[in-house]
């Protein structure tokens, strides 16, 4: 989820700042050429409307229609697609997988990363700190396709790294077709996703921790507060805002998961790794049911928008 998180992450915070400065516009030379100034923002607005907002509105319409790709006919079917969705066990499984994804990702990429960042920033040597941050980040710079293909090899039942490792540890009994077994496939993909993403959130937490004035730690040390206590009494409370943000961003990313599942299992075996994104893709582009795919998109829209609103609300409350 690296790019997605990057987008939302930085911006959601920025959002707060943006709205806080809305009332105090800078500039304004009052040259009487105000309208001409709109030209500066025009390209951005045109592109956003054409490629972001207009499709979004159309998607609502599609979700109440059924379309025939051969004839191009669209028929209004009311809530049919939504009714079908409510009775579709694979839709519910996909949603459940997204929830599982969220829970695990919040545990590892938010709380795990926070602890890890605190540990790293507690090290004495700056060189070591910056190297660790950088190395942990490397998987986030790689495309999810590369990660997915790499882990497909790692998880292979014959000649795969994971089974090889287990066998060399005398745990050969645990070896299996990780992505081929419906019981382990989702877990295997989620684990891969943690590998990919933990360094990214660790880096962000490290940046936040660096902003905590060092006098606080010095004072606490003088007071005889041990390093572990310092983490809990200074670091964690002071990066609370960042933690909230990371939770939201991670949740939002977990509901948009697509690439990592497509390149490893495409939702199989037996739909055990289906998530909303892949089920949308399969319904729309494999089964030609655009209306149903649009209805799934509406559900994704509602979930991610709700998360965004929660985020803005929290950010605003904080400001007051």
């Amino acid at each position: 989820m690296s790019e997605g998180a990057l987008v939302t992450e930085a911006n959601r915070v920025e959002l707060t700042r943006a709205s806080s400065t809305l009332d105090e516009p800078k500039g304004g030379h009052g040259r009487g050429r105000k309208w001409r100034g709109l030209l500066w923002a025009l390209p951005a607005l045109v592109l956003l409307c054409l490629f972001v907002y207009w499709p979004l509105l159309l998607n609502f319409r599609y979700s109440v229609e059924q379309s025939n790709i051969f004839t191009g006919e669209q028929t209004f079917v009311g809530a049919d697609n939504y009714v079908k969705m409510a009775g579709d066990p694979i839709f519910w499984r996909a949603l459940g997988n997204n929830v599982l994804y969220s829970v695990v990702s919040v545990a590892f990429q938010v709380f795990g990363a926070l602890i890890l960042a605190a540990i790293i920033e507690g090290l004495r040597r700056e060189r070591l700190r910056s190297w660790l941050r950088a190395i942990y980040f490397v998987p986030s710079a790689m495309s999810l396709t590369v990660t997915g293909l790499l882990f497909a090899f790692i998880y292979q039942p014959k000649g795969g790294l994971l089974n090889g490792l287990l066998e060399s540890l005398g745990l050969g009994g645990l070896a299996q077709a990780w992505l081929g077994n419906p019981d382990t496939a989702m877990g295997a993909i989620i684990a891969m996703s943690q590998w990919q993403g933990f360094g990214y959130s660790t880096l962000l937490f490290a940046v936040a921790i660096q902003r905590i004035p060092s006098e606080l730690y010095e004072a606490a040390a003088i007071d005889g507060i041990g390093p572990i206590r310092r983490v809990f009494s200074i670091t964690i409370p002071l990066v609370r805002e960042m933690t909230t943000l990371m939770i939201i961003v991670t949740l939002s990313g977990a509901f948009q998961v697509f690439n990592e599942v497509m390149v490893t299992t495409s939702g199989g075996p037996d739909n055990s790794t289906q998530v909303l994104g892949t089920w949308l893709y399969r319904s729309g582009f494999v089964k030609n049911d655009f209306g149903y795919a649009a209805a799934i998109a509406v559900v994704m829209f509602v979930i991610t928008l709700t998360l965004a609103i929660v985020q803005v609300t929290i950010a605003n409350r904080k400001r007051l």
Binding site: P157, Q176, G180, N181, K287
Partner: protein
């Protein structure tokens, strides 16, 4: 209105073959609208194939040769990979801009184009009894015939065979099994001799469906299958389906090493294992023979041959059926140069060019007598003999059914392999998907 004169031909296995006076179906374009007999050799014909990559030279040669013969004709050729084609054709369909000639797989996949009026009725030029039709294997034409209307030009012949390693068979002292029960026994003997009986990987889902396709035609009577492959009459409630799934599970456990982990095992790695002489059997399409046993491979040195997946002794269905199907080409019913497009396809499927197809690409052609000793291996020729003598061709389960049912089978069998689902469980989700598809 048109009177339908339907004469069912009993030979039809997976597909009901019928003859009708005029174009039946739901909205297929009547042949009368287009005159295919008058050909003017000028203009442009657009073609899309799925033969990019290693296979693309054949159509390039066809284009060049045809343009040489008819200087006023331009063939606008576009070749895609397998997946690239699937994506592209959807876009072209949705934007109402299909080319004049376009590739198709048989079954529901092809029928949906015809049913929606974007594929031409070719009965008058290619049905059995016509000059062109008589050059083709009847079973290949049958695969593209619905209610008496033939709507596609068969192009490549493809069928599924069990290849086996003769040396490994001899080492274990086994011979080619005649029944499914014997096959299972053979696997036991091979295994006891320390030989992996069969390699199998199902990471993509379809390899298992090919076994199921063949077993279904053994266990389910042909008429029942035919009815179930039509969305309107489908029930999928014959007990033979569950039986096929059980038999497949038995093959999986008794014959393969992949077992319940097969969903995580790559098909092509397993195919290589056969080529390397590490497994005694592998279930494969005949057009893959060359890739399965490459020149200089261990399996080639050991000696190899093929047999049809044997039928269970208590089979209720057609034991002479063979899993396989021709690929084909559809002619766009909205084409301005339909007659010219048909003429080009006649040229492509002439006996000379059909032989060229096998020689160049290793793809057997449905054109009669196109396989010769120069252009093919004995195993390939023999497989085509088996194919010609098969009572009917069973089309791949994942293209013969509507997408929802295909999907239910695909994921259900994956669950069956991993042990999470019982055969009955799989069939009930297939039945549910089939009901849903009726709308």
């Amino acid at each position: 209105m048109k009177n339908k004169i339907i004469a069912a031909i009993a030979a039809g296995g997976a597909i009901t073959m019928a003859l009708a006076g005029c174009g039946g179906g739901n909205g297929g374009t009547p042949a009368a609208d287009v005159d295919l007999s008058e050909v003017t050799h000028e203009g442009t014909v657009s073609v899309i194939t799925r033969y990019a990559g290693n296979y693309e030279s054949f159509f390039e040669k066809m284009k060049a040769d045809y343009e040489d013969m008819h200087p006023d004709v331009t063939i606008d050729l576009q070749q895609e990979s397998d997946q690239g084609y699937k994506d592209k054709i959807k876009t072209l369909t949705a934007s109402q801009s299909l080319p004049d000639i376009y590739f198709t797989w048989p079954g529901n996949y092809a029928e949906q184009f015809y049913d929606n009026g974007v594929a031409l009725d070719l009965t008058e030029v290619i049905a059995p009894g016509t000059e062109w039709g008589d050059t083709m294997a009847p079973s290949a034409l049958e695969a593209f015939t619905k209610e008496g209307v033939t709507y596609a030009v068969p192009f490549g012949l493809d069928a599924k065979f069990m290849v086996y390693n003769q040396k490994l068979f001899a080492d274990a002292g086994v011979t080619v099994p005649e029944t499914l029960e014997e096959l299972i026994e053979t696997c036991g003997t091979l295994r006891a001799a320390g030989i992996t009986p069969m390699s199998f990987g199902n990471v993509d889902g379809w390899p298992a469906l090919h076994y199921i396709t063949q077993l279904n035609s053994y266990n389910v009577p042909a008429e029942t299958l035919a009815a179930d492959f039509k969305p309107e009459t489908a029930t999928f409630d014959h007990p033979g389906y569950a039986k096929s799934l059980e038999q497949f599970t038995e093959i999986l456990t008794e014959c393969t090493d992949s077992g319940t982990g097969a969903n995580g095992v790559d098909y092509y790695t397993e195919r290589d294992a056969f080529g390397a002489g590490k497994a005694a059997m592998f279930y494969v399409e005949n057009l893959e023979f060359g890739a399965t046993v490459p020149e200089g491979s261990q399996a080639e040195a050991d000696g190899w041959d093929q047999f049809k997946l044997p039928a269970p002794s208590d089979a209720e269905g057609d034991t002479e059926a063979l899993t396989g199907a021709p690929d084909g080409f559809l002619i766009n019913s909205r084409s301005k140069n339909a007659a010219l497009a048909v003429d080009f396809m006649k040229f492509v499927t002439s006996q000379e060019n059909a032989s060229e197809l096998t020689a160049q690409m290793g793809i057997p052609s449905p054109v009669k007598d196109s396989l010769t000793e120069e252009n093919s291996t004995p195993q390939l020729r023999e497989s085509i003999d088996v194919l010609q003598s098969a009572s009917s061709l069973s089309i791949w389960l994942d293209t013969v059914t509507v997408p929802d049912v295909a999907d239910a089978f695909l994921s259900g069998v994956e669950g069956l392999i991993s042990g999470a689902r019982s055969p009955e469980d799989v069939m009930s989700s297939v039945q549910a998907a089939s009901e849903q598809a009726k709308g």
